[in-house]
Symmetry: C2
Subunit: 340 residues, 2 copies
Amino acid sequence: MTRKNEQIILAKRPQGIPNMDTFEFKQTDIPEPEKNEVLVRTLYVSVDPYMRGRMREGKSYVTPFPLGEVITGGVIGEVIQSKADEFNEGDIVIGHLGWQEFSTARSNEIRSIDPDAAPISTHLGILGMPGLTAYFGLLDIGQPKEGETVVVSGAAGAVGSTAGQIAKIKGARVVGIAGTNEKIAYLKEQLGFDEAINYKTENSIKSALKQACPEGVDVYFDNVGGEISDAVISQFNTFARMPVCGAISSYNNTEPDLGPRIQPQLIKTRALVKGFLIGDYSSQYKEGARDLGRWLREGKLTYEENIVEGFHQIPSAFIGLFRGENIGKQLVKVADRNRS
Amino acid sequence: MTRKNEQIILAKRPQGIPNMDTFEFKQTDIPEPEKNEVLVRTLYVSVDPYMRGRMREGKSYVTPFPLGEVITGGVIGEVIQSKADEFNEGDIVIGHLGWQEFSTARSNEIRSIDPDAAPISTHLGILGMPGLTAYFGLLDIGQPKEGETVVVSGAAGAVGSTAGQIAKIKGARVVGIAGTNEKIAYLKEQLGFDEAINYKTENSIKSALKQACPEGVDVYFDNVGGEISDAVISQFNTFARMPVCGAISSYNNTEPDLGPRIQPQLIKTRALVKGFLIGDYSSQYKEGARDLGRWLREGKLTYEENIVEGFHQIPSAFIGLFRGENIGKQLVKVADRNRS
């Protein structure tokens, strides 16, 4: 029997939180690379909250995933056949590829990563998009200064945990918000956050914030939106900065997401709020990756990965993001490298 | 009988829209200037929406007006007695002084204005705080580029009408939002706005905006907040900029001001939202006033003033701001200059 290519298709646009009906497994033939293409065997698949937005029909910052087609996202793989001069069999590559066991990719759709410099999975995490997202959002928009108070929501996730650690590197006092006691312990004991707030067990996030931020909030790195953000915004100091990275609390909403309008508070504090996407910084990736790599080697940055094994685990790993259980980067390991 | 000094006191903190009970008239003796002080006779009093915030008890960006004391704001007056070297009798001065017929002021609390360069009242309007507010908010935060679409709310007011005209000077397509047909005609016919929307007669502000801004919104100069701003924000283009100058729709609210949370839209568009106060730009006032004065002389800027006469008209002129009737700058003329 010939080896087949297992794929995950967007079967249905989810209403609310995605479930198993959202996805469909499908088998096809393994594709043949054409000239200037390579065949990549998937090793790791990244599941990310932002992908929920692409499952929606309406226009978003990226085009929606088409129904009935393979879902695409961050993938690390191994080149197993090359018809492109730039790549050889055995190369480890990263790119925006499909949720499938085998992909063909044009040479300009992927880039090589050095498998000996750091664990290859880190290129989907702390050295990849999540790390760079934290780096540019915090440093370009948030611009934390020594002694300032930086609050990070979704603080135990791949982006939030990196943003908080970079703020510490810059000399800020860092307060994380997360939703389990395990995460709170991780933030304070492993990452050295100054304070951490469990929003699920606090009666009032605002009171908890007032206590954790006696001098107010200067920078708010926002991954979640909703009531948590309402509370943080209410504690802004004059000239606060708020990089808006994500709004996971609303991604699965079916009703309009209502809250207190923030304009009066922005006038009062002259705060700056700015949304961003990592793609806005593509011309500066090298600089960001260099700093992140150096901090990692120097032990100033640490990271967690939550890796589940098996191609069939991808849907449940994705759905799990919205239960708020993962610490650090959520990945699915699909296969081992050949060369090992 | 000796001439007395008529004053207006904050008698009661208003609930909702201020009314006549908010204010109390009081007579005192005309004060005596001390050394380094002058005695100023009030000529013009400025009434401004932001003053509503100071009538509230809670902390705001400025300290609340104390109950039982004279309300303070922008005043133009004439020096009628000077014990300060820098000022002579007859000088026309501007400062943050009281709602009263006579004030004493230390020499560092006021500055002279040239009564021959432009009508003196313009120093409370297009050449004063409202003009500078429009100038810095639009140019520093909004940064309109040629051909971009700029939307201004509260467009027929002192700040909004100037912001829209500066955007025209910078080559933008300008759409104003206001609440009477007279204002709409003023914006289009007198100020040369490309489109103007009467939010009180449109069934859907959003539909009207879509029609008036077929290429979306690049800059939104916000004076009003509330549902109008919700609609404008929904039409943002990528990298839109929103200087938040005022939120008059909520100043008299007694309930929390709820609306759709804007973070998802900010991520999608990577828009920037920033509150500001004119005081943030005090080091650059000269530059702003120079440009505004030049544009005025060149006929590129025009302005309206709505001047009511008589000290006793001050409360009703202030309350009238919230009925949205005034076009341009609302002033109260209290007295004529001696020297004329």
